[in-house]
């Protein structure tokens, strides 16, 4: 079935209106209408939008700071707020309090849940102060326990709240990927643009270069570049350097795509007309050639996101990427590398769920966009 709706015979004025709307719609409207019908892609889009929103305001949504420690609850299990227990129902959600006991066998101090004590979870609690978006100073957090702690996803070995850390990590991991994607896009545009427009030996040389970069296995290549970061670099420097290497290594695929498209379009009448009219190459590329495949570029960008995210996670996981106290999905998963730790505290795996969710959402979104952007798409 072809997705382009066949115009039915004009029957009623209402249908007429609808057809008029369809035939006069801009390309972007058409893409949006097709995209909206793609349920999986919409779901991916919503998940990502939520992730971006919540992580942008991570300080507000997280009850604690990413490095704030609760030394009374090390490697503590997730606490799920309840509304009832053996002692009855409560309208306000609560968690059970904790008390410290000695293990009868090892005599070590252990923390046990005390089902008799209720600690109520309330909203808009004052916590550590922070700057929202780096601007507004406040100490209001979405939820928390007054005079106590609540750890939705448990705590790590240092007693840091996994839930709060995941929110902050989401921001780091998504933004580092975005920076990498933007950088590789700019490089691909310039390099692919030159190769495709100039052709000849320039194109040949650039083709050989992209081939060399593409043939070296990508994560070992990233690791090699990341290994060169001086140890004394600050976290911010490492952060930007990492997105730089993602950009530097990531451009060839997109550059190739841009090049082949430009080569195909170069001889088209409208390009020759522009050239005859005296337009400069930069104008022809930017004004005439690029708009003809913007939608493909966007799709490629979305599809390249998961690779960036997975690369960041992989690099930080083995200790060549971001380092503590930076917090990203990969940095958090470092804690889950040790088999003893994951045996004792499987909740340290929770960041992995976020990685999987983000990659899945990007993939579904990319697939949906690809289908929506293709005007000749034949739906199967």
């Amino acid at each position: 079935m072809v997705t382009i709706d066949k115009a039915p015979e004009p029957a009623a004025p209402a249908a007429d209106q609808k057809n008029l709307k369809y035939y006069t719609a801009s390309q972007w409207d058409l893409v949006w209408w097709r995209f909206r019908r793609h349920r999986a892609a919409m779901a991916g889009f919503i998940v990502l939008a939520l992730m971006v929103f919540v992580s942008t305001f991570a300080e507000f949504f997280a009850p604690y700071g990413p490095t704030e420690r609760n030394s009374d609850y090390l490697l503590g299990a997730p606490q799920i707020p309840k509304v009832w227990d053996a002692n009855g129902v409560s309208l306000q959600p609560f968690i059970h309090g904790l008390s410290t006991e000695r293990d009868p066998v090892t005599l070590r101090q252990i923390t046990v849940v005390d089902p008799e004590v209720r600690e109520y979870v309330s909203f808009f609690v004052r916590g550590q102060s922070y700057r929202l978006l780096g601007l507004i100073e406040t100490d209001i957090r979405l939820f928390g326990v007054r005079g106590g702690h609540v750890h939705l996803f448990g705590t790590d070995e240092l007693g840091r709240d996994v839930y709060s850390r995941v929110l902050h990590a989401t921001r780091t991991s998504l933004s580092i990927g975005s920076l990498g994607v933007v950088l590789s896009f700019v490089l691909a545009l310039i390099i692919g643009g030159i190769a495709g427009y100039a052709g000849g030996w320039v194109d040949y040389a650039i083709q050989r270069l992209t081939e060399v970069i593409r043939v070296i296995p990508v994560i070992p290549l990233y690791m090699g570049l990341a290994a060169a970061f001086p140890r004394e670099w600050s976290n911010t420097q490492v952060y930007f350097a990492m997105s730089m290497i993602f950009g530097i290594v990531g451009w060839p695929t997109l550059a190739r795509r841009i090049r082949s498209h430009l080569l195909a379009q170069r001889g088209e009448d409208y390009v020759i007309a522009a050239r005859v009219a005296g337009a400069k190459p930069s104008r022809i590329i930017a004004r005439h050639l690029l708009p003809s495949f913007t939608s493909y570029i966007i799709v490629d960008l979305v599809i390249s996101f998961p690779y960036m995210i997975l690369s960041e996670t992989a690099l930080s996981f083995i200790g060549l990427g971001l380092r503590a106290p930076s917090v990203s999905w990969g940095v958090m998963l470092q804690d889950a590398q040790n088999i003893r730790t994951i045996e004792q505290a499987p909740w340290l795996f929770i960041p992995a769920g976020f990685v999987i969710l983000a990659v899945l959402a990007f993939t579904l979104l990319g697939d949906g966009l690809r289908d929506a952007a293709d005007p000749y798409q034949v739906k199967s």
């Binding site: 043939v215 296995p217 290549l221 290994a227 992989a314 889950a336 088999i339 045996e343 999987i356």
Partner: protein, 332 residues
């Protein structure tokens, strides 16, 4: 004709490898500080001997580090090409060849085990799913394909490790049982290796299989609608024979043409999976040498991995030319 095509490709392969070696050399040169400084630091730190700038300079002369970069590059690559000598591994105070030792062969064993598993799984399952389109197995395949990309291999390895520790109380790591670890090669040791290859092979085949399933299924769907299939059916050819004779034969082509990509992907994922599963192969050594900044070892490994990717690209080109008569052999 095929020979000329192969010769052409072989020349292209050598040119690519030459360019790759320059790139690898650049990566080896990027880390701050040089070999002499790190050598002096490692050798004398904590011994109370104070190292002066002139000591480091003489070390530099000893290692030939005072010569220009291009000269060092040619010494390095010359040693590799003529004597198969990859230089010195300073962190281990021996030659790179010694450090690598058996690991190269174990890496290749893992690679081929993974490739074989990928194709044995992907091709028949995808053909089956394409034939039974819109059935439960077909939808299952689609879901699996998405998961194959979204769940990174090292996470799968961690999950397997977690399950095996919690339910069996034993790890799944390593490539040999303890009793064969240092034993000389024998049939029993090879069999033991074979058993241990299955888990890493499956973990590494995970994402490659997911992608190949999609490709084979899509090609099969295209080919199933071709008139040649209808004609064969009309002639009364049994269904399974016509499947094998027309669409399945063609559906293998995209798989053959992407062997190089699969090898690239597997080598890309190998180091981290090897780290989690503690496999004694090159990828894990690569991470260790990057962390120690032992760049001659890292460079040698990067070069070896890329060499096999380029080699498999070549094999895939030639195999495709033999398999698919439609490929034009003119030009390289």
């Amino acid at each position: 004709m095929v020979l000329r095509f192969a010769a052409n490709r072989l020349i292209g392969m050598i040119v690519t490898l030459f360019a790759v070696s320059i790139m690898v050399f650049i990566i080896m040169e990027i880390p701050p500080g040089d070999y002499a400084e790190r050598y002096a630091f490692r050798k004398f730190s904590g011994t109370g001997v104070s190292v002066t700038e002139s000591d480091i300079d003489s070390l530099r002369q000893e290692f030939g580090l005072d010569r220009p970069a291009w000269e060092r590059y040619f010494t390095w690559i010359g040693g590799i090409v003529t004597e198969f000598d990859f230089g010195e591994a300073f962190a281990y105070e021996t030659s790179v060849n010694n450090v690598i030792g058996d690991r190269l062969w174990l890496t290749l064993a893992i690679l081929y085990a993974t490739l074989i598993l990928t194709y044995l799984l992907a091709i028949p399952i995808a053909i089956y799913a394409a034939v039974k389109r819109h059935s439960l197995p077909d939808y299952g395949l689609t879901i699996f394909s998405y998961l194959g990309l979204a769940v990174p291999n090292f996470m799968l390895a961690l999950i397997l490790l977690y399950i095996s520790v919690t339910t069996f109380g034993a790890g799944v790591g390593g490539l040999f049982s303890p009793e064969y670890e240092d034993a000389p090669w024998s049939v029993a040791k090879a069999l033991d290796l074979f058993k241990h290859l299955i888990v890493p092979g499956l973990v590494l085949a995970w994402s490659a299989t997911a992608l190949q399933l999609q490709t084979v299924r899509a090609t099969m769907l295209d080919e199933l609608n071709k008139l040649s299939v209808t004609a064969a059916r009309a002639r009364g050819l049994p269904e399974w024979r016509l499947l094998l004779k027309y669409p399945a034969r063609l559906a293998v082509n995209p798989v053959v043409s992407t062997i190089g990509f699969d090898v690239n992907r597997i080598f890309s994922e190998l180091p981290i999976v090897a780290l989690v599963l503690s496999l004694p192969e090159l990828g894990q050594l690569l991470i260790a040498s990057y962390i120690d900044l032992d760049m001659y070892v890292a460079g040698a490994i990067l070069l070896m991995l890329t060499f096999f990717i380029v080699l498999m690209n070549f094999v895939s080109d030639v195999a495709l030319a033999l398999l698919d008569p439609r490929i034009k052999l003119a030009g390289g």
